[in-house]
């Protein structure tokens, strides 16, 4: 039940009656009339329970884009329902409009279109639908909240997909499919074809040339069907914000670009999100479904405020991956976390696999390192230099173990990681 402002106004106006009829009975009578009006209004208001709610619309939306979800109210009752309807969503879903006034005649249905512009990645679950059905006098209303379940999954924005065409072009150069007279680089034998001017004479296959009248060259291509294991660290270091977005979101962006590129390059890509347990896993998906599967797996991930368990992660990986593969660990170069967690376990990993660590550096630190002027700025610069030196030392130490390290600012991490992958592929190190 809900009251309206009109009832309050009416009650205030009846005060005038009491000035002219100053008696307690008059007061009682006025209240009685008001109560009776409210009861009549409630009795005549459309039945909320006889409404049936239907939902339709988007179930997925990229972060930053707008989803449309519609709510249809079907009136199965005998009376017309005149109501304010609020479709409640969590605040970060940024649902609009807040509430809508509808009149639904008996037996008809009305649609309410909601637009959601989520401000945050993850699953947004519709909370409730509240219907406030007004009585004919507009003095009181029946109100009821009912569930109308719907979930909109907010996927990572993947802003670095604009780098994908450039990286794919590079990949085509490598595989020799590029429209240029350069020999496909790589180490795997691809095919034989006739010599054309400009081909590298070193790639002439003399045996095949001897069998035929023409000069025949061998073409090469990079290895295919290699395995790439992307590992997202979702521990406490992933929660830190670089610029205005969490480090985890930067890592996801880089992982998505690398996944898209590697799957086009013919490699098998798997994904694992881990802190102290497996948060998400994508394995053995086909090339075409990979990106969708990765995005769906990443959407609900949130950084956990706990120290990541490097030993657990390594053992999980070792148990799942038998053949040699490229493990791309997206984490933060945090001295304490790496030295105590990962470093002692590195020989285990690097003996069988190729490990690449991608870390997002904070542009704020670079900015602090160049700050000058007063004493506070100089101390800022000193602290930033110290942090940078530690990072460099750690990078050097990791490289000693044969680990590839990609350390870049949030805007550059995705293309830098893709470049590192392409370099490995070109060098045939996968």
């Amino acid at each position: 039940m809900a009251l309206t402002g009109r009832l309050g106004l009416l009650a205030a106006l009846t005060a005038i009656v009491l000035i002219f009829v100053p008696s307690w009975w008059a007061l009682l009578a006025v209240e009685g009339v008001l109560l009776a009006l409210v009861i009549i209004d409630l009795a005549l208001a459309g039945n909320v329970r006889s409404l049936r709610l239907h939902r339709a619309g988007d179930t997925n939306v990229r972060l930053g884009e707008t989803a449309k979800v519609s709510l249809t109210l079907e009136n199965l009752g005998r009376r017309r329902v005149r109501a304010s309807v609020r479709d409640a969503w969590p605040p970060s879903a940024a649902a609009a409009p807040r509430s809508v006034d509808l009149a639904i005649p008996a037996g008809e249905r009305r649609r309410l279109d909601m637009t959601l512009t989520p401000t945050r990645r993850g699953d947004r679950v519709a909370a409730t639908v509240t219907v406030r059905s007004m009585g004919p006098l507009g003095l009181a209303a029946r109100q009821l909240s009912r569930p109308a379940p719907w979930t909109v999954r907010v996927l990572p924005a993947f802003p670095s997909r604009r780098h994908l065409p450039a990286k794919l072009a590079r990949l085509r150069e490598l595989t020799g499919q590029h429209v240029a007279l350069i020999r496909g680089q790589g180490t795997e034998f691809d095919s034989l074809r006739e010599y054309v001017d400009g081909d590298d004479v070193r790639s002439i296959d003399w045996r095949a040339t001897a069998r035929r009248a023409d000069v025949v060259v061998r073409t090469w291509r990079p290895e295919r069907d290699r395995r790439i294991y992307l590992v997202l660290d979702t521990g406490r270091t992933a929660a830190g914000r670089v610029g205005d977005i969490p480090r985890l979101d930067c890592s996801m962006d880089a992982a998505l670009l690398l996944g898209a590129l590697a799957s086009r390059a013919g490699d098998r890509v798997d994904l694992l999100a881990y802190d102290r347990r497996v948060r998400a896993r994508v394995e053995g998906t086909s090339r075409t479904d990979l990106l969708t599967a990765m995005v769906q797996a990443m959407a609900p991930l949130e950084p956990e405020l706990i120290e990541s368990d490097a030993a657990g992660m390594v053992s999980t990986l070792m148990a799942r991956v038998r053949q040699r593969c490229l493990i791309v660990l997206l984490t933060e170069l945090n001295t304490a976390a790496i030295e105590e967690g990962l470093l002692p376990l590195l020989p285990q990993l690097t003996s069988r696999h190729l490990l690449m660590i991608a870390a997002v550096s904070d542009p704020r630190v670079s900015e602090m390192a160049t700050s000058r002027g007063d004493l506070a700025a100089v101390y800022d610069a000193a602290a930033a230099e110290r942090a940078r030196a530690e990072r460099q030392r750690l990078t050097a130490e990791l490289r000693k173990y044969g680990v590839e390290v990609v350390d870049a600012a949030p805007d550059d991490i995705a293309p830098a990681l893709a470049d590192a992958y392409l370099a490995l592929k070109a060098a045939g190190r996968l």
Binding site: L3, T119, R132, S145, R241, I245, R386
Partner: protein, 405 residues
């Protein structure tokens, strides 16, 4: 950005309106919009003040006071009466007037400004013996002192003829009463100066003495006494006996009437109306407090800036004046960047054994001598903050020189 922002409400300003005023008209419009409520409130207050001032009672304090020589006083009448041997005693208090009357059997009690009399005063006066002249009495006074007479109307002045057998009236003749009350009187009373059968002057016997009711005091004032038969009327009405007790009551002391609380003074209807307004307020509160559905809760992600540890360390350095550590970090950073430019192995940057070599290479490419460069890159910790800032600047200069050379 993944943090949740509360829903923002924007000012309902027109979409075409720029945020900064560009024309004078726009500025004026914006100022008016922001100040209109203040202006309207002040204007309403001014109007209220003017209305209240207009409604202020215009009766002057000395009106009908026999001791006042002012235009609205009645000193002239009192002096004429005195000259004619009718003593005028002025009292400003009902009980004093009654005791004077008790001591003097042949006296007329003139009661003016009777609206100032309290219920208690009227009670006392009703016990007074002797003739009474009431000037401009209201219904409350009439009920106690002239039973049967009712206030009828207040009509503007016109010359009125006596129209009765009363000696005082017939002798005075036509009188201009100005603004005057008229009365409804019982048949037993003598009714004079009527307009549309409503008399302005009424005389009736009450408990063995006569009570005269005069609807206007203006003919008795100093200003008007000389006009028409005003003086005759006044003298004949007041001077019928050998003396006059003129009661012009003072304003009753505030709250002195009866100890009434504010609650008793408020009419019952208003009290009930206020009660009803409270009910209305409660209903409005219920209306506003009823939410359209529950509050939707949502776990929010933590907001930790990644650079917080670095900033924290900078503040610790500063708080502890850790010039040595700060200088070490800055020097190490500078060496790290300088050494590759000099073509030396990267490992030599942090190795003190290479100090000589690094300094010598730098001295060859920068306009400073080896001692200064050595002191900057490998020297002792700065003695004070200013020196630390200078060291930083020197390292920057050094780096720039080497890069440009």
């Amino acid at each position: 950005m993944t943090s949740v922002q509360p829903p923002q409400t924007t000012e309902p300003s027109g979409p075409t309106e720029p945020s900064e005023g560009t024309t004078a008209a726009q500025v004026v419009r914006r100022r008016w919009r922001s100040a209109r409520y203040v202006v309207l409130t002040v204007l309403a207050l001014l109007i209220l003040v003017v209305i209240l001032a207009a409604l202020r009672p215009t009766v002057q304090p000395q009106y009908l006071d026999p001791e006042s020589p002012g235009q609205s006083g009645t000193r002239a009448l009192a002096q004429i009466l005195g000259d004619r041997g009718v003593g005028v005693e002025v009292t400003r208090n009902a009980s004093a007037a009654v005791s004077r009357m008790a001591g003097n059997t042949d006296a007329t009690l003139v009661v003016v400004r009777s609206e100032r009399l309290t219920e208690d005063d009227l009670e006392i006066l009703s016990r007074a013996r002797g003739d009474v002249l009431l000037v401009e009495p209201r219904q409350r006074v009439l009920d106690r002192l002239a039973p049967g007479v009712r206030l009828a109307a207040r009509i503007p002045g016109q010359h009125a003829a006596p129209g009765c057998e009363l000696t005082a009236a017939t002798m005075a003749g036509e009188i201009d009463f100005n603004l005057s009350y008229t009365y409804l009187a019982p048949a037993s009373a003598v009714r004079c100066y009527p307009t549309e059968a409503l008399p302005r002057l009424v005389r009736l016997p009450v408990e063995g003495h006569t009570v005269t009711v005069l609807g206007s005091g203006l003919p008795l004032t100093n200003e008007h006494l000389a006009e028409d038969g005003n003086a005759a009327l006044g003298m004949n009405l007041a001077g019928e006996r050998s003396s006059v007790v003129w009661l012009i009551p003072d304003l009753p002391p505030a709250g002195g009437d009866q100890e009434k609380s504010l609650g008793e003074l408020i009419p019952a209807g208003v009290k009930l109306a206020i009660l009803q307004l409270v009910v209305a307020l409660a209903l409005v509160a219920l209306w506003r407090s009823r939410r359209l559905g529950p509050v939707v809760v949502e776990p929010l992600p933590v907001v930790v800036r990644s650079a917080e540890t670095v900033e924290g360390r900078a503040r610790l350095y500063r708080a502890q004046h850790a010039r040595d550590r700060a200088a070490d970090a800055l020097r190490a950073g500078a060496r790290e960047r300088l050494v590759p430019l000099l073509g030396l192995p990267r490992s030599s940057a942090q190795d003190p054994a290479f100090a000589q070599e690094v300094v010598a290479a730098l001295a060859a490419r920068a306009p400073w001598d080896a001692t200064a460069i050595g002191l900057a890159l490998y020297g002792p910790a700065p003695a004070d903050d200013a020196e630390l800032v200078r060291l930083t600047d020197f390292l920057d200069d050094l780096e720039r020189q080497v890069r440009q050379s």
